[in-house]
């Protein structure tokens, strides 16, 4: 597959009038290949929007190189602009223009057939409100209008920054379906979002950024696999006996009132056999696979803890890797956190991870 977006060593600092420069991007790398639905994740202030704005020529990079659709950016963006559509952060339009006029003006400026305006209005569900003024639109409707503007050019590449912002549940589902439809028709989609469940549902690849550096990248499966600890949820009648037997077999066990969580399991049948041989019949044996949200929180060091407000710069500062970016292979590049971690923050990996109010006992 050919690279659609390539970013290498991207650096950007913002220099306020007073005070020290703020590093937004610190040697960031990203690769998006043709046909991917690529999720771009990161905590608030981690550099997602700066990356997209830099890629689109709205912000000037201090260092690094970028290519969009094979052409160097931002120098050759005017050449490839007709082939990509983008929305960046919250959509902003003239409030006194109607949705239709807003799109028509963009279509005129971009040399797009006016008939395309009605097509995209229909596509994003704004057909019946197209002649209303934008200032009367809800945030979700403005978001739809922004997506419509990005679709006007029938793009090969679609860059969507937080497309689900302000959308109601039905709108989120529609957006998901829209992205899937576009992907199935061959459009490459780069989507940044905070709604990790959505990303997990629609994206096949992800890049996670923290404090301006890439934390990990790869297929969703690869990223999740990096955090698969072979955990299983086990329910039997006698937890104490089961814990003893499993521990004796060399597995770690965390005991809860109604279940056991066993980690380090490579062969769940063997676990069942150990218990069965001692007349302990397994009532439930469920693999606990990590979800993207859990992985994201751990990788970025942003797991919330009761009573400890999370600060925006508290996320993980990944170490730079010695080698150049080598493609969409999951790489876990964790470094230090912004503040020394005193170990008080447990990782929350796995869909069935213990709830903080339901603490288990490690055997």
């Amino acid at each position: 597959m050919s690279a659609v977006i390539e970013i290498h060593g991207l650096r950007k600092s913002f220099r306020p009038l007073r005070g020290a420069p703020r590093v937004a991007l610190d040697g960031f790398d990203m690769l998006v290949e043709a046909g991917q639905v690529h999720g771009f994740l990161g905590p608030n202030g981690s550099g997602k929007t700066t990356t997209l704005r830099t890629l689109l020529g709205l912000v000037q990079a201090d260092a690094g190189s970028m290519r969009v659709l094979g052409e160097p950016a931002p120098e050759r963006l005017p050449v490839v602009a007709p082939r990509f559509g983008a929305i960046v952060e919250s959509p902003q339009f003239f409030g006194n223009f109607t949705g239709r006029r807003t799109l028509r003006l963009l279509a005129t400026a971009g040399g797009v057939e006016p008939a395309r305006v009605d097509e995209v209005l229909e596509r994003v569900g704004l057909r019946d409100r197209a002649d209303d003024r934008v200032k009367g639109y809800s945030l979700g409707m403005k978001q739809r209008l922004a997506v419509a503007s990005a679709l006007l050019k029938s793009p090969e590449l679609l860059i969507l920054d937080e497309p689900a912002n302000g959308l109601d549940p039905a709108g989120i589902r529609e957006m998901r379906d829209l992205v899937r439809d576009l992907a199935s028709s061959g459009v490459t989609v780069l989507v940044s979002s905070h709604i990790l469940a959505e990303i997990e549902l629609i994206c096949d690849h992800v890049t996670i950024i923290s404090r301006g550096r890439r934390v990990t990248a790869g297929t969703v499966g690869e990223v999740l696999a990096g955090f698969d600890r072979g955990e299983y949820l086990v329910r039997v009648d006698d937890h104490d006996r089961a814990t003893g037997l499993i521990t004796a077999a060399g597995h770690d066990v965390v005991t809860y009132p109604d279940r056991l969580v066993v980690s380090g399991v490579t062969d769940p049948a063997a676990l069942s056999r150990i218990l069965g041989e001692q007349d302990l019949w397994v009532r439930e044996l469920t693999p606990l696979t990590p979800d993207l949200e859990s992985v994201f929180l751990e990788l970025t060091g942003t797991v919330p803890h009761p009573g400890i407000p999370q600060q925006v710069d508290d996320s993980v500062l990944p170490q730079h890797t010695a080698t150049a970016y080598d493609g969409p292979v999951a790489q876990i590049e964790l470094g230090s956190t912004a503040e020394p971690d005193d170990g008080a923050r447990p990782a929350a990996i796995g869909a069935g991870a213990p709830a903080t109010t339901d603490e288990g006992t490690k055997a």
Binding site: V59, P78, A81, G95, L105, L106, T108, A109, S149
Partner: protein, 333 residues
């Protein structure tokens, strides 16, 4: 071409522009209506009576001129006690019928002054629309959206400025024609046209064209300041600040410290010289004669329109160049 078309449509669709256009029309209408209300069509009798008075005045002037010249030749010693040094200096213009028509709008006499109203209206319109057009675009994210479609900053900004100037020039031409036409009609139907010779039309045309050019410069200035300040209010703030602090306060301070030529430091001086063609100004250095009995006259100097235009172009050019240079490198966050 598509971008120009889109920009012109965007400009025309802006409510602020529509509001300013409505205010411009209202201002013109008020000026015309006030003139109509203050004028009346002179009767044939009044015109005839004025014609007689003109003839009488011409006769009186000729008689006085003749006496002046005779006195200069016959009695040079006492000549200066009754007549000026140069007899021909006194009557520089021939009396006209309109001099003797009271309460009548005379197109020939009043139009040159009314053109300055037109120029003021147009310049104010241009400045506000120029600043608001780009200020709102930068502030609302419209510019960001456009740059996602046309990632060519200087082309986009240049097209916006070019479209704006083209639209303002077009509006200036149309409104000037309507303005002149309206007063010409008033002069015909409810006043007195006067002598509309080539000199008159030449003066009107020259002043109007200068007004258009001033309007374009002021429009570009408003646009550039709003780009630099990233907001419409920046242009309005700079305008108000300049007027109050420099043109007002600065002038007072310079008078207190007896600065020799404070007028040359004020942009308003150059605007005046450009529109009027030239401006006669007084220096703070007095030119006294050799004798104590002589009057001390302030030194006069003249500011001509080419010099004024050069200064205005340098100022506007600096702001516009600065705006483009700044916008080319600016992070749009």
């Amino acid at each position: 071409m598509n971008l120009i078309q889109a920009e012109l449509e965007r400009l025309g669709a802006r409510r602020f522009v529509q509001l300013m256009l409505a205010l411009l029309v209202v201002a013109f209408a008020v000026t015309v209506v006030t003139t109509v209300a203050g004028s009346r069509q002179p009767t044939a009798g009044e015109v005839e009576r004025a014609r007689v008075e003109v003839q009488q005045q011409i006769d009186t002037n000729e008689r006085w001129l003749r006496e002046c010249r005779e006195s200069r030749e016959e009695d040079p010693q006492n000549f200066r006690s009754r007549y000026p040094v140069d007899c021909d200096e006194v009557f520089t213009r021939t009396p006209q019928i309109e001099d003797y028509l009271t309460g009548v709008f005379v197109f020939e006499r009043q139009m040159p002054g009314l053109i300055y109203f037109l120029i003021t209206f147009l310049a104010l319109f241009g400045f506000l629309v120029g600043a608001s057009y780009i200020g709102a675009d930068l502030n609302s994210g419209g510019m960001t959206n456009l740059l996602l479609w046309r990632p060519q900053r200087l082309t986009v900004l240049g097209t916006k400025l070019g479209s704006l100037l083209g639209a303002v020039l077009g509006l200036s031409i149309v409104s000037s024609v309507l303005y002149l036409g309206a007063f010409w009609l008033v002069g015909q139907a409810r006043g007195y046209p006067g002598i509309l010779d080539a000199d008159f039309w030449n003066t009107i045309l020259t002043t109007t064209v200068r007004g258009w050019f001033l309007t374009l410069m002021v429009t570009a200035l408003g646009f550039a300041i709003a780009v630099l300040g990233r907001h419409t209010a920046a242009a309005l703030g700079v305008l108000a600040g300049y007027a109050v602090i420099w043109e007002g306060g600065g002038r007072i301070v310079m008078e207190i410290i007896d600065a020799p030529r404070p007028d040359v430091l004020m942009l308003s001086t150059y605007v005046g010289a450009w529109v009027l063609g030239q401006l006669h100004l007084s220096d703070q250095n007095f030119d006294c004669g050799p004798s104590l009995a002589d009057f001390c006259q302030p030194t006069q100097y003249v500011l001509s329109w080419p010099a004024a235009l050069l200064v205005l172009l340098v100022v506007v050019g600096a702001f516009v160049a600065g705006a483009f240079a700044n916008f080319r490198k600016r992070d749009l966050v």
